[in-house]
Symmetry: C2
Subunit: 215 residues, 2 copies
C-alpha cells in the first residue's frame, strides 16, 4: 500500500488506532464483518466520518456488506507500522512505572518495553520482570545501542522536562508522558499525553445536566 505521498490529517491518524482496537476486540468476539454505522456506534462517531477517514488509505468496504473485520484490521496495522516490534524505553519506575512495565497489552500489540530507567539509587539495580532498572546516566548509551525510538515518561511532573530532554538527545523520536505538564521538545520529536482528567471531563460534559437537574 502506498500511503507516503498522501498528506493525512493528524486528527485522522490519531483515530486509526481506535479503529484498530475496536476491530481487534471484534476479532476476539468472532465478528466477521461490520458496517461503518456499527463501527461508528461503538466509537461514538458517525458512519460518514469513519468512511471518510478510511477513504484516505484506499477502498476497504463493500457497499451493502460492510468491512471484513480481519482484513481491515490487518490493513490498519500495516498503515500504523505494526508489522515490526517497536522497542520502548521507560523512565520512572515508581507505582505507575511498575504498572506500565508489567502491562501485558504492549507485547500482544507490537511494543516491547526494552529498558527501564530511574534516578533513585534505591531503585537502580532492582529487577522488574526480565529487566534490571538502570540509572539515567545509561540512558543515552542504551537508547542508541538498541536504536530505541519510543520513550514513556512516568516520573513526577517536576522531573519530566529533564527526562524529555535526555530522551530527545539520545535519539528518541516519540514520547508518551503520564506527567501532567506541557513538554517542550525539539522539532522532529512527537509528544502525546495520557491524562485521566481529560478523559473524565469528556464524560462529565454529558453528566452535568442530568446530575444538576436532580440536585
Amino acid at each position: 500500500m502506498e500511503t507516503s505521498s498522501i498528506d493525512i490529517p493528524e486528527i485522522v491518524v490519531r483515530r486509526l488506532p481506535l479503529y484498530a482496537r475496536a476491530l481487534h476486540w471484534m476479532v476476539q468476539d468472532n465478528v466477521q464483518t461490520i458496517s461503518s454505522s456499527e463501527l461508528g456506534a461503538k466509537l461514538g462517531m458517525s458512519s460518514a466520518q469513519i468512511r471518510k477517514d478510511l477513504s484516505y488509505f484506499g477502498e476497504f468496504g463493500k457497499q451493502g456488506t460492510g468491512y471484513d473485520v480481519k482484513f481491515l484490521l490487518s490493513q490498519l496495522q500495516q498503515i500504523l507500522g505494526m508489522q515490526k516490534e517497536w522497542l520502548v524505553a521507560l523512565v520512572g519506575v515508581g507505582d505507575l512505572g511498575h504498572a506500565i512495565a508489567r502491562y501485558g497489552g504492549f507485547g500482544r500489540r507490537g511494543f516491547k518495553i526494552a529498558a527501564l530507567f530511574d534516578n533513585d539509587p534505591k531503585r537502580i539495580g532492582q529487577q522488574v520482570g526480565e529487566l534490571q532498572i538502570l540509572g539515567m546516566d545509561s540512558l543515552a548509551m542504551v537508547v542508541r545501542g538498541l536504536r530505541i525510538r519510543l520513550g514513556v515518561i512516568a516520573v513526577p511532573a517536576e522531573a519530566a522536562q529533564q527526562v524529555a530532554d535526555q530522551m530527545a538527545g539520545a535519539g528518541i523520536r516519540a514520547i508518551l508522558t503520564y506527567a501532567p505538564i506541557n513538554l517542550h521538545v525539539p522539532k522532529g520529536v512527537r509528544v502525546r499525553y495520557i491524562d485521566p482528567v481529560v478523559v473524565l471531563q469528556s464524560m462529565t460534559y454529558h453528566l452535568k445536566d442530568a446530575v444538576r437537574s436532580r440536585e
Copy 2:
C-alpha cells in the same frame, strides 16, 4: 450559556478537554491571547477545525486578535461541568491504582478520588493517603451514599467486566478503565479507555517510514 438544546457531535465533546488542558498550560505560562492557528499548531489540528468546534458553543474569538485564554478556558470549564467537584470511585489498588490514587492532577482540575475498593483481603483496610481501601461488598452502599457518578477501573483485564457491572448497578454513570478489554455496560453508562498502545500507535504511524528508510 444555553447549550443543552444543541446536539454537539461526540467527537467534538471529546476534543474540548484537550483545548481546556492546552489553555490551562497557557495560563500557567502567562499567555493572554491565542489565535486558532497557534492553538491548532499545539494540538496537531487545523485552525478551521478549532473554530468550527468552538462555534457550537458561541462566539469566543475576535477576528484578528484571537481568543482570550482565561475567558475561553473558563467557558470550556463551564461547558464541561467543571464548576462543581466530581467524586470518583477507584477500584483496584495495585501499582496502577496506587499511582492513580496519589495523582495530584485530579484535585486541581475538578475531581476527587472519594473511595478506594479492592477484592484482595491483604489490601482491604490499608490506608492510601486519607482513604482506607474498602472491600467490593461495600461498593454499592458507598457509591449510593456519596452519590458518586464516576468510576475508575484499575484491575486486571479478566476482572474488569465484573467491576463494571457492579459500578453500573450502584449508579455510576461514567467509567474510565485502564484494563485492555471491551466492557459491556447498560444503556446510559459511558465507558472510556486509557490505553498507552493506542497512543504509541498514533506516533509509530509517523515513525515507520523514517525508520524503515534508515534500516
